[in-house]
Symmetry: C2
Subunit: 458 residues, 2 copies
């Protein structure tokens, strides 16, 4: 391995049948995503390619934005595994690759989240990561006793307290608290227990956690929001950011903006890895890659395309608009994803697209960057952003699965390795070690035990 | 296999290092329960023994009831894996055995629970079961924004609506809804989607679930409460009951009481399996078994014993009472487990035990039945209850692990098989098939689709 050169970080972002909204219709795609053998093959393929991690998105409602049942019935992404159960199963059939699950701070409780990720970290011997998101759709609200979802600002305020509290729960026990001395009968050293006793605006949680401190101290904290509030939360708490950037210039601006916020939280720029999403279409020639892409685009039913685009508008029914006319005006703001809205409205305005052209433009990568070409051309594009401070690495979004990931591993990874940009062997055991991230100290170390156990009995 | 004779059902109830509260101090026990290799060995051993299922208890707080830190620090059961993540990992290294996790209806949301168990059912190809419990300790309440835990009656009312709603979410899609027709682009048949639109006293959840209908229709529903409210909930919804019974007479009364409640819910007695807990101590002679038991009992520190007993009292600090005096008077009622309180207070009164004798009496089996002897004697005891309508099977609680389970599989299982009481091969693929339980029909089959998708857009 070339240890001199700065190394790319790579995530394999696994959408059930592939990222393209028509992926399930591709003749070589696995159309049934509730299929563990499918995911086992994907995870082992990504590990063969020495990816840092696999990454699973999530939402707590069916993800469709069509307003009629015909649109719904053509959507191949409505049902899938729940990420934490799936990654737990994959931990048993992999050895080195990181396992990053999305979990919402809006419709979960901190104790459950702290516990499940700590459990996954032990199951995988230190390979867990948590992608912290807020939930911004009414479909999700309605599955959790609410009519409307929380306001953007409230969601982020809750998310910040949520993450802070989860780290306190992970720090309930010092790393060496459990001595398990069979002879004396002492299981843990009492002064190494720190009961959080958290009382905040959104949560009141005593603790301690009923899992020991995670193998990695904390599982790696990932974040995907790119709005102003999202960037600020990331600068405080995130170690990896997944982001959608279309041009090198935008990517550089985002990179500089986020890295520039770290100093005020006492953090080093190396301790937060920025990884834009990339939707790669690989061919033996550029022309073949383009044809592959067109083949997928032709499989997009208009109702499915309009359903996807309606989501960007914050839940607008677009079925009445002519496909060859302009996209209707975008709202000024949204209570859903602000960064996604800006990205797509910029795209529509910049390229003056028809409604159909616009939904096709996001049908594959949903606003992330699409690149097609030969393995060398793909590697060129990744290298350009990497060496010019546009990215620390990339989250690879295969168009269809398993083929799209296998091509990347077999054709692009070797090219990146030849250039000395990517590892040929894992450096460490934990995700944190492979990403080059420090292991966080326990925030309660050397603080007198405030357990006050007299108040703790049941 | 003897297909004529009625067959015993067996669960392997895996407490982290074994059921005895001093198990972790046993020289052959695994003292560190955050150890996946340990559980992998246990699950594969249970599967080798053709157990119907492994079963994991759970609580959402550290489980200790001592009032001082010295008692806590000697408790080897405070930290452990979270059951759903652990069973998901075990699903990848086992083929036939059922995977039953406890999850509370008090501090969870129905959408999450429906989804995670459906996901586990797909990961395991139809081997998931859900042990439905309510949470009755203040330690748990305080991890979820509450000072006090819910009243017993409210907990059961919430539990009943919770289970009903979870089955509606599992029935969101008919079994054959997903046709995945790549040619036409139709992924599911619209009239086979049933959006629950649930609005009840405790929950308002629209659905549908973002997982297809589970492999088993519903994962197997297990229940452990034995109070009046618990029996009634079980008669309505449970398919397996784990219960604590000390004598054949009590077991027969309980068996008759629960089975007698099924008719009014239109259910057959065969469709609810009653499985008392058994704490077996196995020796090559009765004397050797007794010595093994005594060896464990001698490892119990008084503070740990009093902490356990204090839990039965509903959280009472017993550290001031003389160990060789009588146990203090029991409360008339508790807001914790009513059936546990009755069981232990009956035991104390019946046998006129000192405080130390009482905590030692529950130090192994926590109120479940302890039997020691040769493999033949253990088999005799199990057979006696089984053929005399005291039980449909048993939930085996090994004193320490892995040894206690391995002895049972190697010595007692073959004896039960020789007697024609227990399978030598699994009968089916799913847990439901192995238990001889019917696959539930979808409650929305043949009901016109009330989806009203116009109201469903985001």
């Amino acid at each position: 391995m070339n240890t001199k050169k700065k190394q790319l970080r790579l995530g394999a972002f696994l959408h059930p049948t592939g990222h393209h909204i028509a992926a399930w219709r591709h003749p070589q795609a696995q159309a049934n995503p509730l299929n563990f053998k499918h995911y086992k093959r994907l995870a082992q393929t990504a590990e063969r390619g020495k990816f840092d991690m696999i990454f699973l998105a999530d939402g707590v409602a069916v993800r469709d934005h069509s307003s009629d049942v015909e649109g719904w019935s053509r959507n191949g992404k409505l049902v899938h595994f729940e990420p934490l159960t799936l990654l737990s199963a994959l931990s048993a059939v992999t050895d080195n690759i990181g396992l990053v699950a999305t979990a919402s701070t809006t419709y979960n409780e901190p104790f459950h989240i702290a516990r499940k990720f700590a459990s996954l970290d032990y199951l995988s011997d230190g390979r867990a990561g948590w992608n912290v998101v807020t939930s911004g759709t009414e479909a999700e609200a309605k599955n959790f006793n609410r009519e409307k979802h929380l306001e953007h600002a409230t969601r982020y305020e809750r998310a910040q307290e949520f993450v802070e509290l989860v780290t306190k729960l992970w720090d309930s026990w010092e790393d060496d608290a459990f001595i398990r001395d069979q002879e004396s009968g002492v299981y843990f050293e009492a002064d190494k227990l720190h009961i959080p006793h958290h009382k905040g605006k959104h949560f009141s949680v005593r603790g301690p956690l009923n899992v020991a401190r995670p193998v990695q101290g904390y599982p790696v904290i990932v974040q995907a929001g790119s709005s102003e509030a999202g960037q600020e939360l990331a600068a405080q708490t995130a170690e990896v950011i997944f982001t959608a950037q279309q041009t090198l210039k935008e990517a550089q601006e985002f990179y500089a903006s986020v890295k520039g916020r770290l100093a005020k939280y006492g953090r080093s720029p190396e301790h937060l890895k920025i990884m834009p999403g990339i939707f790669p279409v690989i061919g033996s020639t550029e022309q073949e890659a383009k044809e592959k892409y067109d083949q997928l685009q032709e499989l997009v039913h208009p109702l499915v395309g309009l359903g996807l685009l309606g989501w960007v508008y914050g839940g607008k029914d677009l079925s009445g608009y002519p496909l060859d006319g302009p996209a209707p005006e975008f709202p000024d703001d949204t209570n859903g994803s602000k960064s996604r809205l800006k990205l797509v409205s910029d795209l529509a305005n910049r390229e003056n697209l028809t409604l159909k052209e616009l939904y096709l433009a996001i049908a594959g990568a949903r606003g992330h960057r699409t690149i097609w070409g030969t393995p060398q051309q793909i590697a060129d594009q990744l290298e350009e952003w990497f060496v010019n401070d546009g990215a620390d690495g990339f989250n690879i979004m295969p168009p269809y699965l398993p083929g799209g990931l296998e091509e990347f591993v077999d054709l692009v990874i070797p090219e990146l390795q030849r250039r000395g940009l990517f590892r040929t062997e894992y450096e460490g055991q934990t995700l944190r070690e492979n990403l080059g991230l420090p292991r966080p100290a326990n925030q309660f170390n050397n603080i007198a035990n405030s357990a006050e156990l007299a108040g703790v009995s049941v």
